[in-house]
Subunit: 364 residues, 2 copies
């Protein structure tokens, strides 16, 4: 990638120094949500002032519900009214929602000003702060409005993870397991071994996982900045995962949905004879080690899930595109990075992959 990712316990304290040295701008707009701003924004602004760098804090109410065009507009107004020029920089301080919204403000302010992503949740460190996706939700769908706007710098402090609820750490690990599943079996094994330490929020274990995940994702993204080809493999587990989120009206958290999605997609690959037998079972065991669900709740039948799959962004000519594994750590590549699955076959396949045709011993 064209930008640095600094993963360092204590990086948040050192952030004013880092910004002054690595991403210096005459003025900073620190964008954060109501929760995170209270914890870290004041200190950051004082630290920047100590470096002679003026900064102002702009906040929005925490929660995905505020990742919308209205708040994008209000934050933009704040920057305009504050007289921020093209030479200003944005610091996105918070979780995935902050990164997406603040990133989109930066992407569209005077046709784009630099943004430094400072993820403060595990899933943001592991995944969303790297790759340049920014955007807001639309009443009719998540992330329908947005832009690719790679950050100038990413600064992750594994130390802050310890202060978060265990459930957040658990959710955050789904994407890390995915990174291993698509490109590095050894990383999957390593995550399995580190699971207790990761769940406890050990800064060493978190640092190791964030570094390796960023390395894997960064490598994929740098080879395909805009999702035309290779980058699609990052969608492993997400085709079914997004459908599960949709059908549950987003009551299933993203990490849990991706966890179940990966197991179902691995099982589906096995049904198709593309994925090595036993891959779904192994993947399920690792995910369960992080307290993540691997079996789709009985209430979510394939007949409810299918319409969401059929409206997936990757549908072409009625055929669903799905990333399938060859085996753990290796994506199966056909003519494209996604496999085209005929709409007609999908229901039967999905039922079998979800273990809905009698007991399925593979799904733990």
């Amino acid at each position: 990638m064209a930008y640095d990712v600094i993963v360092d316990p204590g990086a948040l304290e050192a952030l004013p120094d880092l910004l002054a040295r690595e991403a210096r701008r005459p003025r900073f707009a620190v964008i954060s949500d109501s929760n995170v701003a209270e914890l870290y924004a004041g200190e950051l602004v004082r630290g920047l002032a100590g470096q002679g760098l003026p900064a102002e804090i702009f906040t929005f109410p925490a929660g995905e519900a505020h990742k919308n065009r209205e708040w994008w507009g209000r934050l933009t107004d704040g920057l305009v009214e504050g007289g921020f020029g093209r030479d200003a920089g944005v610091v996105a301080l918070g979780g995935g929602v902050v990164g997406d919204l603040a990133g989109f403000v930066a992407a569209t302010y005077m046709r784009g000003i630099p943004v430094v992503q400072v993820p403060t949740t595990l899933v943001a460190m592991i995944d969303s702060s790297v790759g340049g996706k920014t955007g807001v939700d639309h009443p009719q769908g998540k992330n329908l409005v947005g832009a690719f706007h790679p950050p100038e710098l990413v600064v992750a402090d594994p130390r802050v993870i310890r202060t978060l609820p265990r459930a957040e750490r658990s959710q955050g690990m789904a994407e890390a397991v995915k990174h291993g599943a698509i490109l590095d079996e050894g990383y999957v094994t390593e995550l399995e071994e580190m699971a207790p330490a990761l769940l406890a929020g050990s800064e060493e274990a978190v640092g190791t996982a964030v570094r390796r995940s960023v390395e894997i994702k960064g490598d994929v993204v740098s080879r395909d900045e805009r999702e035309g080809g290779l980058r699609q493999i990052l969608n492993f587990g997400h085709t079914v995962g997004h459908a599960l989120e949709g059908v549950s009206d987003y009551s299933i958290p993203h990490g849990a949905a991706v966890s179940m999605g990966m197991v179902v997609e691995a099982r589906l690959g096995e049904e198709l004879g593309i994925t090595q037998e036993g891959t779904a079972r192994r993947l399920g065991r690792v995910l369960e080690g992080f307290g993540l669900p691997v079996t789709v709740p009985a209430g979510l039948s394939s007949s409810r899930i299918l319409p969401f799959l059929r409206s997936d962004k990757k549908v072409r000519d009625g055929r669903l595109g799905m990333v399938l594994l060859e085996r753990l750590g290796v994506v199966a590549r056909g003519r494209e990075w996604v496999h085209r699955i005929d709409g007609q076959r999908l229901e039967g396949l999905l039922n079998r992959a979800m273990g809905r045709n009698g007991p399925n011993p593979d799904l733990v």
Copy 2:
């Protein structure tokens, strides 16, 4: 540039063929304003249907007043409600306002879908459709919100220019003269000779000017996509020009403002000993040949213009950045592409450049 610019009399009629061949998409959203849609959009959609390509028209009320976030939101909603996917394409059919607004919709729809720019005014053909700038206005300033989103293809039909009012053609030529002024003295001479034909809307003359301007601008833009360096030379005449627009509350049209701006900036360069003597006079003669104003109206004093200059986006540490010519066709390059002019000196210089210290025989 990474995209083609087709300049051809009759190109508008051939547009469905061109799109089917050069920018084929399973579905098109034709975005246009209320005036242009009435003239050309129906035929385009019928033509696309004839190629088996479904297209829908989305319009907004004509005029810069509607180039705002509200209409960007409404047009985006239209695409979402119409079920347009990531594989759809936008056709921006109209003048500069349409290109900016439709381009920004495309730039931010699902993190960016391709746009084909089909400029239907002379200034859009000569200048704004090439370069990838898109965006909307903010109550506090023009183009404060936007993105760089290069088009997939630009299609210009010089034949439509004949149907426009002579004043629109006159305004459109200011940017063409600028292209010659910064990079090609021969083109300035050619424009001077073609002036009557251009003002009459001759499709040959218009085609020649559009082709040459696109070539010059495209070359600059391809070497500096995001305005960090060389691209700044396209701002020649625009520092003073923008200030004149602002101080007149945008009652001075852009072309007229740039015309006066170029003459004042050339004169200012002469005052500084940077620009060859006589350049402003020559430039003024060419611009007058297109019916463009070259003298700042007496009501606009330097004391009214200065505050606008001082809030220019290119001000750094209180010093204004201005592109200056060495001579016609050659930009004077110092340490940067812009020359830094001290705030203290500006008023005196501006007064002399505007010919406000007694008669100034150089300014015609």
